[in-house]
């Protein structure tokens, strides 16, 4: 095709392309990988779903496998997450931020960030699962909580749990249950964002 010098860059960075083309630590069907913990977030209806399995040894992520249904950035970000997480101690792994994964990928388009970088959440779910299965205390859950509504002291994690458990479907439900956003109202736009984001992550109807 004649391009007359107008040559497009690829849709994403070269790092994303590399991970998309050659995904690392993929969970192969025929592989004998017996995970100590498994986490899954997202849904096919939302367009993104991730499953992460971890092996834990001496308080560290000894090994990790993943599966992803999703777009190129979802596949690449989960692959990148796997490289970052292996060898990390559980606390650091639990605190892995989507921003960190995105930075390692050399950036992602704005609209891709929220919907496709779910690997950190799947990893956290896998660690939760590991600790629960082994009847161990989960000292990390509280550490990653961020206060969203300062007036009522409602954290993102509280909101996450309520949505995950189908107790909250919209802003009104959230306000009724927690009072979040009912005092000064400053956090309402963020609450609405979070509700959409969490519903997406947990595959709840939009």
């Amino acid at each position: 095709m004649a391009s007359n010098g107008f040559m497009a860059q690829w849709v994403y960075t070269d790092i994303v392309k590399d991970h998309f083309m050659n995904p690392r630590n993929l969970w192969k069907e025929d592989e004998d990988f017996n995970p100590d913990g498994v986490g899954e977030v997202g849904s096919l209806a939302c367009g993104d779903q991730m499953r992460v399995g971890i092996k834990v040894k001496d308080g560290k992520i000894a090994d990790l496998r993943w599966l992803t249904y999703g777009c190129a950035s979802a596949i690449a970000s989960t692959s990148m997450m796997s490289e970052m997480a292996i060898g990390m101690d559980l606390k650091d792994a639990y605190n892995l931020k989507p921003e960190d994964i995105m930075a390692k990928l050399g950036g992602l388009p704005e609209h891709k960030f929220h919907c496709s970088v779910l690997g950190d959440k799947a990893l956290r779910a896998a660690i939760d699962d590991y600790l629960e299965k082994n009847h161990m205390e989960n000292p990390y859950k509280a550490t990653v909580a961020k206060i969203i509504c300062e007036c009522m002291g409602v954290t993102d994690q509280k909101i996450e749990t309520l949505i995950k458990e189908d107790k909250v479907k919209n802003l009104k439900d959230l306000q009724d249950i927690t009072g979040a956003g009912t005092v000064c109202g400053k956090c309402v736009p963020r609450l609405e964002e979070l509700i959409v984001e969490m519903k997406h992550i947990y595959g709840k109807e939009a």
Partner: protein
């Protein structure tokens, strides 16, 4: 097979035909303003009027019913805007009916008319994406000012029963518009046979240039100017003629008229070869729309690959030189996949995994065989990565 470049996104846009490129090159020095009285101006005008005649002939209209626009988006906008003020004269006709699978250029413009006192209502489609005529007929009443139903859908390739829909609309005195953008050059389009009052088309969808299109307005149907400042198009659409593009559109129209039967036949053969190849070589695929030739544009094949996501499929195919499009949300920048496929009742996850192959006149059997060779391992690879394997 050696790596090839296979363009299968002809419903998005087409490469100009050689004859179109040639006539545009031949006329690149025809810079006169077609509105000027001197020789160069009159030469340009002669070119513009030749093109108008070719478009008119293509759709069996009269020359004076053809208005050049910047494309089908402008044409669609114009039709709805004509009705913007008509409600002031006939306030009892305050309903507009469009199908639920129209192009955004119709949907968004129609919705805008809600603010002008209209009630814009959506006529549903059936499981293949074809207008549900029974439900549509029940929606009609003497209050309907305008009905707009596309002639063929860009995503599913489904041909709409426009002739019947128009006939029914006329029983209630409503005006009828059809967006024929995807149909031109692929199926026969005759404004008299279809009995429509307005029709939109776009040059670049049938091997003509971009940025040029047409609005057909039947003699006697309401028309109004929206771009003011010149007497072009009898005062209805101001702006210096884009002579070269108009001449290119004229050539594309001539070619579409002369080649229609052969093109359709060839596109359908390639489409069926592709469909059979995909169904034979890839387990668990869902063909969206229909495989009935009478209901489907000959070059469009829309397929869902369960457990594989559309953007990933598109990008892996792109690496192999195969260019397609997807109904996945990921490619659109929103969380919602194709509203066209959802309107026909397709489950959301199948819409996310949908790929549209749209063939064009330059495609060959080798192109199709190349896709049939490259696609199965891509789907297999993506499904192996997927959380779901079926």
């Amino acid at each position: 097979m050696d790596k090839r470049f296979v363009y299968l996104d002809n419903n998005a846009t087409t490469e100009m035909a050689d004859e179109v490129k040639e006539i545009m090159r031949e006329n690149e020095d025809l810079f006169g303003n077609a509105s000027s009285m001197h020789t160069l101006g009159r030469d340009a005008e002669t070119g513009v009027e030749w093109a108008r005649g070719e478009v008119a002939r293509l759709i069996n209209a009269e020359k004076r019913e053809i208005y050049f626009t910047s494309g089908a988006t402008e044409s669609n906008n114009t039709v709805f805007n004509i009705f913007r003020d008509i409600i002031d004269e006939s306030p009892e006709r305050n309903r507009i009916i469009i199908s639920s699978v129209e192009h955004p250029a119709s949907i968004e413009t129609a919705k805008f008319l809600n603010k002008k006192g209209y009630h814009v209502e959506f006529a549903p489609v059936d499981h293949i994406g074809r207008l549900d005529l029974d439900k549509y007929e029940k929606m009609l009443s003497d209050n309907v000012a305008l009905v707009s139903i596309m002639l063929a859908n860009n995503e599913s390739g489904i041909i709409q029963p426009v002739r019947e829909a128009s006939r029914l609309a006329k029983l209630y005195g409503a005006y009828f518009h059809t967006d024929a953008t995807q149909a031109i050059g692929k199926i026969k389009v005759d404004v008299k046979e279809l009995d429509v009052d307005y029709l939109s088309l776009s040059g670049h969808k049938f091997y003509g240039p971009k940025g040029i299109g047409v609005l057909f307005v039947k003699k006697g149907a309401p028309m109004e100017a929206f771009i003011h400042g010149g007497h072009q198009e009898r005062g209805f659409r101001a702006g210096t003629y884009n002579t070269q593009a108009i001449i290119g559109l004229g050539k594309a129209s001539e070619l579409a008229r002369l080649n229609l039967d052969n093109e359709s036949e060839k596109l359908w053969r390639l489409r069926e070869r592709l469909r059979e190849g995909i169904e034979k070589n890839i387990p668990h695929v869902v063909v969206n729309g229909s495989n009935d030739r009478n209901l489907t544009l000959p070059g469009t094949l829309n397929v869902s690959f369960p457990s594989a996501e559309g953007e990933s499929i598109l990008l892996y195919l792109d690496m192999e030189g195969i260019e397609v499009s997807t109904g996945s949300a990921c490619a659109s920048g929103s969380l919602e996949p194709s509203y066209v496929l959802l309107a026909s009742g397709l489950p959301v996850e199948l819409a996310h995994g949908s790929i549209r192959f749209s063939l064009g006149k330059n495609n060959t059997e080798e192109d199709v065989d190349y896709v049939i060779e490259k696609l199965p391992p891509i789907i297999e690879k993506i499904r192996k990565m997927s959380t779901r394997k079926d």
